[in-house]
C-alpha cells in the first residue's frame, strides 16, 4: 500500500504543476482546462475506497487552494466530498467500462462544480452564469479525457488493484 501512497502523492503534485504551468493553457477549450487532479482523486476513490478518496481529496484540495488564489478550503471541500461519495457508491453503481467511467466523471465534475459554486456564493463571489461558462464545459472536458487517464492509472496500479480484487 506504501506504493499507492507515494504514487498518489506524486501524481497529485505533478498534476497540479502541469495544470498550473503556462503551457497547459494551450489546451483550453471553451475557455476551460481539465481538472487532472480531480480525475486522479476520483480514480483513487473509485478504486481504493471512501476513506482513501476523501483523504486524497482533502490533501490534494488543500494543495490546490495553496497553489491557487482561492480561499483555503474552497477547492478542498468539493474534492473531499466527491472522494467520499465516489468511494461510497463508485463500484456499486458504475462498473468499470469506458462509458460508465465517462459518465461517472461527468456527474462527479458537475456535482463538484455545483458545490464549488455554492461555496463561492457563500464565502467568496459567484455568478450563476458560471454554470454555463465553467461547470458544464469543465465537466465535459474532464469526462472526455478521463477514460485515457483511468486506463493509464489502471496500468500503473495493476498489482495493487489485483490484490484488492478491483482489476
Amino acid at each position: 500500500m506504501i506504493f499507492v501512497y507515494v504514487v498518489s502523492a506524486i501524481l497529485m503534485i505533478v498534476s497540479l504543476i502541469v495544470q498550473g504551468h503556462p503551457s497547459f493553457d494551450v489546451i483550453r477549450i471553451a475557455d476551460v482546462k481539465p481538472d487532472l487532479l480531480f480525475i486522479i482523486i476520483v480514480y483513487l476513490s473509485y478504486n481504493f475506497g471512501s476513506f482513501y478518496g476523501e483523504t486524497c481529496g482533502f490533501i490534494g484540495g488543500i494543495l490546490h487552494d495553496c497553489f491557487s488564489r482561492s480561499p483555503l478550503g474552497l477547492l478542498a471541500f468539493p474534492k473531499m466530498a466527491i472522494g467520499f461519495i465516489v468511494g461510497m457508491l463508485g463500484r456499486d453503481v458504475f462498473k468499470n467500462s469506458v462509458i460508465t467511467i465517462t459518465l461517472l466523471i461527468l456527474l462527479a465534475s458537475m456535482v463538484k462544480g455545483v458545490i464549488t459554486l455554492m461555496l463561492c456564493y457563500v464565502f467568496h463571489e459567484a455568478s450563476i452564469s458560471q454554470v454555463l461558462t465553467i461547470i458544464i464545459p469543465e465537466a465535459f472536458y474532464n469526462a472526455l479525457i478521463s477514460p485515457i487517464i483511468f486506463i493509464l492509472l489502471d496500468k500503473l496500479f495493476a498489482k495493487e488493484l489485483d490484490s484488492e480484487g478491483n482489476l
Binding site: 504543476i17 497547459f24 475557455d31 488543500i62 488564489r69 478550503g73 466530498a81
Partner: protein
C-alpha cells in the same frame, strides 16, 4: 478507540468538513495565510524546477531547429537596424520639439517609472480563479498593488496588479479576473468607465458606467485613466468588441478584448510604483 477506527471514514469526513468551514469562515486571517504559505513553499520548488527543466529543454531544441531561422532573422534585423538608426535621429528631434511644446502648454513631464522584469512560472490551476505567478517577490522589492504591464508591439499594455507577494514569488490578478476594478477611458473620446473581468474563465472584460453619449464602436482603444491610484495614465488595456445600451440604465456597457493574450504571456514588467497611500486608506476605510 475501536469506534473511531471502525467509523474512520465518517470521522475523517466530519473533521475535514469542519476544517474547511472554519478556514473559509476565517479566510485571509493569519491562520489561513500561514497554511497557504506552507503549501506554497512546499510546491514552489517543484514548480520552479519543472519550469526550469521545460525552459532548458525548449532552448536546447530551439538550438537545433531554429538555427536557419535565426540566421535569416539576423539579416533582416541588420537591415532594420540601419533603418532605425536614421529613425532614431528623427525621433530625438521630434522628442525635443515635443518637450518644447509641452513646456509651452505648461504640461507636466510624463512620469517615467522604474520597472522590474519577471517571467511567468505558473498560472492558476483551476478554472474558477484566474491568477498568474511570477518569479520575483518581496526580495526583489515587489509590493502588493503594484501595477504589472507587458509590451505588445512596442506599446505598454496592462496585465494586472500584484495581489500576493511572498519571498521569491508574487501573484498577479489579471484584468480578466472579475475581482479587479480598474479606472479606464476611451482613448479617443476620453469618456471614463470602470473595467472588470466578465467571468473567471473568459478572456473578456466589461466596462460599466460609460456615458450613453460616448459614441463607442468596434475597435476603439481603451486605456487606463490614472484614476484609482494604482495604474499610471495612458497604458493600453484593450479594444472594444461590443457595446450594450440597457434601457434600464443611464450608462452603456462595453465589452473589451484585452490587448494582452494571457494564453501566451511569458514576460511581464512590474512598475515599482507604490499605490497612492491616501487612496488606499480611503478604500480600506470603506471596506
Amino acid at each position: 478507540m475501536d469506534f473511531l477506527i471502525r467509523s474512520r471514514t465518517i470521522v475523517a469526513f466530519s473533521v475535514f468538513t469542519l476544517f474547511c468551514i472554519i478556514s473559509l469562515s476565517v479566510q485571509n486571517s493569519g491562520f489561513t495565510f500561514s497554511i497557504e504559505g506552507i503549501g506554497s513553499a512546499f510546491l514552489m520548488p517543484f514548480q520552479k524546477s519543472y519550469n526550469g527543466i521545460q525552459g532548458g529543454l525548449r532552448k536546447i531544441w530551439a538550438g537545433f531547429t531554429e538555427l536557419s531561422e535565426v540566421r535569416a532573422e539576423l539579416d533582416k534585423t541588420r537591415e532594420k537596424l540601419q533603418q532605425y538608426e536614421s529613425v532614431s535621429e528623427e525621433l530625438s528631434e521630434i522628442r525635443q520639439e515635443n518637450n518644447r511644446l509641452r513646456a509651452l502648454l505648461g504640461m507636466k513631464e510624463m512620469v517615467g517609472y522604474d520597472s522590474i522584469a519577471a517571467s511567468v512560472i505558473s498560472k492558476d490551476p483551476d478554472n474558477w480563479f484566474r491568477t498568474i505567478v511570477i518569479n520575483k517577490g518581496k526580495s526583489d522589492g515587489l509590493k502588493i498593488n503594484m501595477p504589472v504591464i507587458a509590451f505588445k508591439d512596442g506599446q505598454k499594455a496592462v496585465v494586472g496588479k500584484l495581489v500576493e507577494v511572498r519571498g521569491s514569488i508574487a501573484r498577479i490578478q489579471p484584468l480578466v479576473s472579475p475581482s479587479i476594478k480598474l479606472g479606464v477611458q476611451l482613448q479617443e473620446s476620453r469618456y471614463p468607465g470602470l473595467l472588470y473581468g466578465k467571468t473567471g474563465s473568459s478572456d473578456i472584460c466589461v466596462i460599466d458606467y460609460v456615458s450613453k453619449t460616448a459614441a463607442a464602436k468596434f475597435g476603439d482603444v481603451v486605456c487606463t485613466s490614472g484614476q484609482g491610484g494604482i495604474f499610471p495614465e495612458g497604458l493600453l488595456v484593450g479594444t472594444v468588441m461590443k457595446t450594450e445600451l440597457p434601457d434600464s440604465s443611464a450608462y452603456q456597457r462595453l465589452f473589451i478584448k484585452p490587448i494582452i493574450n494571457y494564453a501566451i504571456l511569458e514576460e511581464v514588467f512590474i512598475i515599482t510604483k507604490e499605490p497612492d497611500k491616501e487612496f488606499l486608506e480611503l478604500i480600506e476605510g470603506e471596506e
